[in-house]
Symmetry: D3
Subunit: 138 residues, 6 copies
């Protein structure tokens, strides 16, 4: 049976900064540069969620893209959109830097338990047009 990969794009806007708590201001500045600025900065994040499986013989859907969108909104965007990633999000622990790399792992954990009839394949997240991270659950 043919396995097809279906991707849904969503977007969210959030503030963050990068700062290791146990480090001095000087070391944080040296490692993170202006990403450590005290009062936060922010991004338009662009999220790509890919699921895989055989298209349903009747509907031709691997998964209903509208349902996938609703699920992403419920489990991910409702937490992250218009949030402060350092302060507001339950599933980002206070000791975890809200880097793009860590976010793709955390978003995977939010979504994976809810993808049931097909399989979650990857989480890809653009922080800017020049930087993105991707995670395949491994």
């Amino acid at each position: 049976m043919a396995i097809v990969y279906l991707t849904r794009r969503e977007r969210f806007n959030a503030a963050h900064k990068l700062k290791v708590k146990g480090w001095s201001a000087k070391k944080n500045r040296a490692v993170f540069g202006k990403c450590a600025n005290k009062n936060f900065h922010g991004h338009n994040y662009e999220l790509f969620v890919t699921v895989k499986g055989p298209p349903d013989p009747d509907t031709g859907f691997v998964m209903d893209a509208k349902k996938l969108s609703k699920l992403i909104k419920k489990e991910v965007l409702n937490h992250l959109d218009h949030s402060n990633l350092n302060k507001d999000v339950k599933f980002i622990s206070k000791n975890t830097q809200p880097t793009t790399e860590n976010l793709v792992i955390l978003i995977w954990k939010q979504l994976a338990p809810h993808i049931k009839k097909c399989a979650l394949h990857s989480i890809k997240l653009y922080e800017t047009e020049n930087i993105f991270a991707e995670y395949f659950g491994e």
Copy 2:
């Protein structure tokens, strides 16, 4: 020998609707929403065809991208561009929903027999900026 993946983008514009023949209008509406609208809607489809192989030692080509483009036009775009995917296309059976997922499988079948000196690697198709499907022939 180094294996390189070469991708060619093409575009086509087509009308379609989603509707299972054996289902009631109500069930089609419940499953497909406005995608089941009677008189069709349409999309600017964006197609990415990827082939793989070693670059030729003389030309540096995995495959001549112009020849790949001509092949895609002959075997795919001439059938799909400015068509109605529910009515006009010989290689889409009347019992197959013209979803993005089914289209990538069907486009693979159109192209695979004609890629000879290198190998077809994937067919990726954007239906909108928010939804795309990809198929690797497996």
Copy 3:
């Protein structure tokens, strides 16, 4: 007082064909090419609505972009999205070709009466990545 131009992008997907009723099939084919194909084709239309006015001293808004979005959905997208532009849309007369040029005029007429505290400046519509039309109400 400073006049600022605020633009909101929206998208809709629709089917259409181009065909003058009084013309022979041959003449329609000669003028419109494959755009005259019998069973329709379609597009992902990308719409840019621009309003102008002074930003409100309190809110900093020329117009609330969320309200502008709701207005566009009510007066334009609810009619055009997932429609057949030749058959389904009340504000497109049967004698009007649904070209991008005619659509920007018709969309202007739909929206202009409802833009009250600032002024409608332009309607811009992409049919494909290579063709768009713009109308300034003149």
Copy 4:
């Protein structure tokens, strides 16, 4: 003499929220929705600065695009990039909402005095892919 319009794109990332100080939390919420969230959110802002004038007969430049870029960095990006628009920026008064509409006016005021051999024509700023504002100095 031919007048040509030259545009330079730059980008910056910033946090902000929208909140009128004299208003209740309830009214701020009603007007600004989640844009009023307490701990800020943020955006990848995309800035287009357009100058106009006759190309220099020797260099063919309306203005050296590299010098324009340096000027934008000095007068605008050094203040706004990786900043909190509500807290960190000297040229945004505490009573001014950091909306896209107000930002284009403020960026114009930062740049206009420094464009000397040609003329500043417009400041255009994207907040998201769906919303942008433009200001022509009038």
Copy 5:
């Protein structure tokens, strides 16, 4: 009668360098930087041609976009695509720097005499995603 602006996008790839003949190598380097490199560099140019006029009552066209495309190919792209802008193009004089600013003026001159039933409105040319020039014939 409603005046609509219709834009067609085309693309061409070309090599160029910037160098004033009467200047020393040092001065060329100081003014043009690496754009003066001896053996040329190049760009994917993106060209937007806008015409304006009333849509034809029958066809709904300001101008047939396919004919506009053919005209641009004949008068502009056949000269510029896969060319060296310093060496190969008859309508670029040897004393004219092939800057984006000069190119929009020269492309206007190539096209304007051939736009007959409607009017040429603007020529816009992207040299990179960060720099573009526009000319309105004035």
Copy 6:
């Protein structure tokens, strides 16, 4: 430990032509078409470098994206940007066609020895919006 893929986009502008030295002008023309034009043409190349590894527990970085950017500039862009790929680049041998396919292999070789704490995963290069190549080091 979770393995995340981090990608950095960079851009460079270069001239090139395609021409096999031992072939006649006629054969070069037959195989390469206008890509064989004598005086070169050029492109805005868009480069995506992907590295993979576990995010650092403190910083949340697979690799500092700013350091990755600096490395790409030093080992790749300083050689390729504003260059003539047929004449100016030490790591492109005179017998190697500067095709996108060959470039991704050569860029891999430039970068791989310098990626130390994580692993180089892929080099992807766009020549135009319609053609790109990718190499995974195999």
